[in-house]
């Protein structure tokens, strides 16, 4: 059976996705489960920072770009006409010019070239790092700044993780996603068995939570809510809870506002290790134990 994948997502940014992901991974590992933690927030990966480790063993992710051989190109413009991203421009009879940042790597240009003038060229879109931190296998995808294609990089990270999960006896993989409901997030949810949507009790938290619930529904992915900063002064907890009720979504955990959590965040040490008995530490621990039991029972 393939390893269960739990995606930690949430819609809005800064609700505590990475905090939950890192603490789940650390906590489940301490419960003797073999855990892989995958940071698929390729725009702004934070898991390594939260674990207080440097990124290691970087492997470049490259995508195809056309490498046009001037001696073979007749300037027929077929490649220019077929390019869906308008990444190639040029006049009849001239060698096309490539706007590399627009190229999606689809190879349509290469397929239509009748003169075999387009060879495989490559551009680096990011790096995937892997390391072991306290027995947790950490895989981090990082988009190269100025490269726009986060979904392609997120997909590469997801694929790499799935490859590494094969046959290595992992009990669970935790995928930390980017904020939002765009394609880079969908890449992770697409392969997940359960999504935990981390949110906060504000109108923005509720609004964005609804979006992620909609996306999960579209992907037929079971989703549960983790309410972070649950007791923030002036917060709108009741409204959020009624949203969950209306949609029949389970509230799996409530994490109280806790300065210890912020300290652990700044120190780069998961709360599970730094202050497991703090109010937020206890809430996270109970989430860890619930998931442990469900994983052992084959429910995820």
């Amino acid at each position: 059976m393939s390893t269960p994948i739990v995606a930690v997502t949430g819609g809005k940014g800064g609700t505590g996705k990475s905090t939950v992901a890192v603490n789940l991974a650390t906590g489940l590992s301490a419960e003797n489960l073999k855990v892989m933690l995958v940071d698929t927030d390729v725009d702004g990966p934070s898991c390594a920072t939260l674990l207080g480790v440097r990124l290691e063993n970087g492997e470049e992710v490259r995508t195809f770009v056309p490498d046009i051989e001037a001696s073979k190109c007749v300037g027929c413009r077929r490649c220019i006409d077929v390019c869906p991203e308008h990444a190639l421009i040029g006049l009849q009879g001239k060698i096309p010019k490539l706007y590399e940042e627009l190229c999606s790597g689809c190879k349509a240009c290469q397929m239509v070239c009748k003169y075999e003038a387009i060879k495989d060229g490559w551009k680096k879109i990011g790096t995937i790092y892997s390391s072991i931190v306290d027995e947790v296998k950490l895989v981090v995808g990082e988009l190269r700044p100025t490269e726009p294609r986060s979904p392609v990089m997120a997909r590469a990270t997801v694929m790499k993780a799935i490859e590494e999960l094969k046959g290595d006896g992992y009990d669970v993989a935790i995928f930390d996603t980017a904020p939002g409901v765009h394609n880079a997030v969908a890449q992770s949810l697409w392969v997940a068995d359960l999504a935990l949507a981390v949110t906060e009790p504000t109108p923005l938290g509720t609004h964005d939570l609804k979006l992620i619930l909609d996306l999960a529904r579209e992907l037929e992915l079971p989703v549960e809510v983790v309410l972070n900063k649950a007791d923030v002064p002036g917060g709108l907890k009741d409204e959020l809870l009624s949203t969950c009720r209306e949609r029949g979504i389970k509230l799996t955990a409530e994490i109280p506002l806790d300065e210890e959590l912020l300290r652990s965040y700044i120190a780069g040490e998961p709360l599970m290790k730094k202050a497991p008995n703090s109010p937020a530490g206890k809430a996270l621990m109970s989430l860890v134990l619930t998931l442990r039991d469900r994983l052992k029972g084959g429910e995820i």
Binding site: G14, P148, H182, G234
Partner: protein, 298 residues
């Protein structure tokens, strides 16, 4: 007319809160302002401004999706092999089908199909609209379809319409609320803008993502300043961070906003904090920042 983009590498550091307060401060202090929500994935600016009155809305169809005609498909599998996005999959009977969410519409499947069973059709990307806020200024918004790719295109549409409407209204400045991160929608938000306000918080994760954003900002040659939000928890880290912003990033420090739960109350009331409680610590800091932006950038 100046375009000022509020961006951040990390999510949830306060872009929308700051954008809403800046816009309202300008509107109330004689600067004609227009706003644009370029976080088309999770547009929240209108929520922070207490909602709006819809003036205009339209569907944007800039995406393309492949479709397989199962009657013609022979199940040869060539399309599955070449799809660079893993969007074409085989069904139980061997015939191909396209997972719409994964398809970028590049059309290579159509190119290799020997029996002409694949068509690439226009598909909806999202919606574009303009609303009027209760503060008298307009807000251009976009809403990307769930799971969609083409955010850069929609962001460009939001910026285009905001420029047009702002020009019609005689606005001096457009405040653009960007998406978190450094990818396509962010690049589409900051290219050609006049100034970027990069928002961060005093944590190592936010600092790291500010550094990544700074590379994108510099690459596109846009001047920028940094606002440190939610400060006050870790004085040592904050001192180092401020020094690093100026020395290493070479950006100006526009100011810092202390942690203040009045901001949460204001969000719940759907009012910009400077409107909800002008005496709050965060409001005072924001007003100073707004004055600085008015004086130095406009």
């Amino acid at each position: 007319m100046k375009e000022i983009v509020v961006a951040s590498g990390k999510g949830g550091v306060g872009k929308t809160t700051i954008a809403a307060s800046l816009a309202v401060f300008f509107a109330k202090n004689g600067v004609k302002v227009f706003t644009a929500d370029a976080d088309v994935d999770a547009p929240d600016l209108l929520l922070a401004l207490g909602g709006g009155k819809k003036l205009f809305s339209m569907e944007i169809k800039a995406s393309r999706k492949a479709e397989v005609d199962e009657g013609k498909c022979t199940g040869c599998g060539k399309c599955i092999e070449v799809c660079p996005f893993g969007a074409v999959i085989g069904q139980n009977d061997g015939k191909a089908t396209v997972v719409g969410l994964m398809c970028e519409g590049c059309g290579v499947c159509k190119l290799v199909c020997p029996v002409g069973a694949i068509e690439v059709r226009e598909a909806p990307t999202g919606t574009l609209g303009v609303e009027e806020t209760k503060y008298g200024f307009g807000c251009a918004t976009g809403k990307l379809r769930l799971g969609e790719h083409n955010s850069g295109h929609l962001v460009a549409s939001v910026r285009n319409i905001s420029r047009r409407k702002a020009q019609d209204a005689g606005s001096e400045v457009i405040i653009v609320d960007a998406a978190p991160g450094i990818g396509c929608p962010v690049i589409a938000s900051i290219t050609g803008a006049d100034y970027v306000i990069a928002v961060t918080e005093p944590t190592p994760a936010a600092k790291r993502n500010l550094e990544r954003l700074s590379k994108v900002i510099k690459h596109f040659g846009v001047p920028a300043g940094v606002v440190i939000n939610m400060s006050g928890y870790s004085k040592d880290f904050e001192t180092t961070l401020k020094d690093w912003v100026v020395r290493e990033l070479g950006f100006q420090l526009l100011g810092e906003i202390p942690v203040d739960y009045e901001v949460v109350k204001a969000l719940v009331q759907m009012k910009p904090i400077i409107e909800f409680n002008p005496e709050a610590k965060a409001s005072k800091a924001l007003i100073e920042i707004a004055k600085r932006v008015r004086g130095e950038i406009l």
